[in-house]
């Protein structure tokens, strides 16, 4: 009885959730409740801050997943759009120019500005394919932080911009307390998930996937591939813009060093690890990379230090696992590529793609056999 009820699909839910079986929805609701309670269970604010920062990794990964995962455009240097979002907010909500626009509308303004830069980069470069596009976007990712660093008259140079306004909601000031940022990221991630789940199954989502599968064939279907790719690029960048605003507000400061190549690599690692093109995979991948980066490595360094003090082992006190961050990403990526190239939670399409040779080979062989077999008396 219960099993049947759990498998029944829920029809009345909005936002494209209605096709999920009840059991999966219940798991989702349980996860949401547990995650929402974390700041009440764990009162250590440095932990909450690490969990909150994981939020921006997730939003960035969602954005990059539209470009790389759905549409199949290998874009590096994604941190550039994150930087553009952050600096847009910093310019318009800090003592730098004495402009103090409200945080909430700025989420949309920065998203729009990042999207426009996505278009500006996309328009001339999207006729490039594969590795060429990767190199151009890599260059863009290097140029943007350099520009913010060198235009010190306007951007504060290497020191960046400090004293950025922090959000207020109904008179409640967020300040430097990480808990409200945690909930803000939480709400925005849920909105992103609903949005992306619908987008994936929409007409636009299908055009992206058709382009990823075979761009020429997509063109033959009457898909305007240029505008579909531009849309992917600008929409993906808009996510980075939103992430940038919250990031800048939480730190209350931005500087070029926060948007270097390492950040771009981190985001790419997150979607490769989780499984490109699969929303749940990207969610897991970015959570793992974010938590590793902001929580596990710093915390385990601290544990090593305490252990060193307790055991009088001096070498443990000097351990800084943060320094090995990229070695650890590297090892993770190599292991994933070797043992699970489709990512931890692969999209069905990716899995098929990576194992296509065996499957297609077998299918065709069987079929040929059947066709010719009929001829043999």
């Amino acid at each position: 009885m219960l099993g049947g009820a759990l498998r029944r699909r829920v029809r009345w839910l909005p936002f494209g959730l209605s096709d999920a079986p009840l059991s999966r929805l219940l798991v989702g609701v349980a996860v949401v409740i547990v995650l929402a309670m974390i700041p009440m269970l764990d009162r250590n604010s440095s932990h909450i801050s690490a969990f909150a920062d994981t939020g921006y990794v997730m939003i960035l990964a969602f954005g990059l997943n539209i470009i790389v995962g759905y549409t199949g455009l290998l874009a590096l240097g994604f941190a550039a759009f994150f930087a553009i979002g952050s600096y847009t907010y910093a310019f318009l909500a800090s003592p730098q120019y004495g402009v103090h626009l409200s945080f909430w509308p700025m989420l949309l303004v920065s998203a729009a500005v990042a999207a426009i830069f996505g278009l500006l980069l996309g328009a001339p470069t999207l006729r490039l394919r594969g590795d060429y596009l990767a190199i151009v976007t890599l260059g863009f990712g290097e140029i943007v932080p350099q520009v913010f660093q060198n235009l010190d008259k306007y951007t504060g140079g290497p020191d960046g911009i400090a004293g950025i306004d922090q959000p207020r909601l109904f008179g409640y000031a967020f300040g430097f307390n990480p808990t409200p940022y945690y909930y803000l990221y939480f709400v925005i991630i849920v909105i992103c998930l609903v949005l992306l789940n619908n987008l994936r199954n929409s007409r636009v989502g299908r055009t992206w996937m058709a382009i990823r599968e075979d761009e020429l064939a997509a063109e033959h279907m009457g898909i305007n591939t240029t505008s579909a790719k531009l849309l992917a690029f600008s929409l993906g960048s808009a996510f980075a813009g939103v992430a940038g605003v919250i990031y800048a507000a939480k730190l209350s400061t931005v500087s070029p060093s926060g948007f270097d190549f390492n950040t771009s690599v981190m985001i790419l690692a997150a979607i490769v690890l989780g499984g490109m093109g699969n929303l749940i995979g990207v969610l897991f991948g970015s959570a793992i990379i974010g938590l590793l980066n902001f929580f596990v490595l710093p915390q385990s360094s601290n544990w090593a230090h305490s252990l060193g003090t307790a055991l009088h082992m001096d070498f443990l006190q000097g351990v800084d696992l943060n320094a090995y961050r990229f070695m650890i990403y590297g090892i993770i990526l190599v292991l994933v590529m070797l043992f699970r190239p489709e990512g931890l939670v692969p999209s069905a399409a990716r899995r098929a793609e990576l194992h296509a040779e065996q499957e297609a080979g077998a299918g065709i062989a069987l079929q040929e056999q059947a066709e010719f077999g009929a001829d043999i008396p």
Binding site: E213, D214, L216, M221, G222, A352, G363, Q367
Partner: protein, 239 residues
């Protein structure tokens, strides 16, 4: 005589500095199957790509039902009803047969008519009906070609451009595909057909153009070209 559905007038197309087509003129009339034959590199595929807007002609014009297609974007040309099934099938290998067919109707907005056309296509290709949920890439070559043609039909073509539909197929499937082509034509869709298998193409076509190094060197009723000595020698492999 009524105006042709599709006509090319003095079309010249370049790839960079290399000229691929020299003053190509041809027409496809209501109810016709027109074959375009020629050797490798003669410009057959380029002719189709020029019609469907994937390459822009440097000179000449392409007229479809009174509209000039020169300068029109490829997606708008598909919406007008000029549908091109590309060489090498190019189905979406990681999508299911059904998804492939649905993408074929991408340029259309009439959901009810699309559902009807899906039934028609599946009636034409019962093999596809059995494999709706299967990934395109796991189909055999012949089935993939059926899917490619079915997908093109989903766009509700007013004229269908077929590029090498029999390429790489087993002899039985070649016959099946040509029967299907004749069948589609009987339902009222004019077809411009490129084929390496010139004999088959000439048997099914009403008229034929012969393309050599970018120029049309011969044209006429298909039956006449089947008996033309030069054509027999060059394309039908006879002495």
């Amino acid at each position: 005589m009524t105006d042709p559905v599709l006509s090319l007038h003095g079309v010249e197309t370049f790839y960079g500095r290399i000229q691929a087509l020299y003053k190509v003129s041809l027409e496809v009339r209501e109810g016709e199957i027109v074959a375009l034959i020629g050797g490798n590199g003669a410009g057959k595929t380029t002719t189709l790509r020029t019609i469907s807007g994937l390459v822009k002609p440097a000179a000449g014009s392409v007229i479809f039902c009174g509209h000039s297609l020169t300068g029109v974007s490829p997606d708008a040309i598909v919406r007008l009803g000029v549908v091109h099934a590309p060489e090498g099938r190019r189905i979406f290998p990681r999508m299911t047969v059904l998804e492939n067919l649905q993408l074929g109707a991408f340029a259309r907005g009439d959901a009810a008519a699309i559902a009807d056309d899906l039934q028609d296509v599946l009636a034409l290709f019962p093999r596809l009906k059995e494999r709706l949920a299967q990934k395109g890439g796991t189909l055999s070559g012949g089935e993939q070609q059926m899917l490619a043609i079915g997908r093109a039909l989903m766009a509700k073509p007013k004229v269908l451009l077929l590029d090498e539909p029999s390429m790489g197929l087993s002899p039985i499937f070649v016959d099946t595909i040509f029967e299907v082509i004749a069948d589609i034509n009987k339902r009222g869709v004019p077809i411009l057909l490129i084929e390496q298998n010139a004999r088959k193409a000439l048997q099914v076509a009403s008229r034929c153009y012969v393309l050599e190094t970018g120029s049309i060197v011969k044209e006429g009723p298909a039956a006449a070209l089947l008996n033309d000595d030069a054509v027999r020698k060059a394309y039908l492999g006879e002495d």
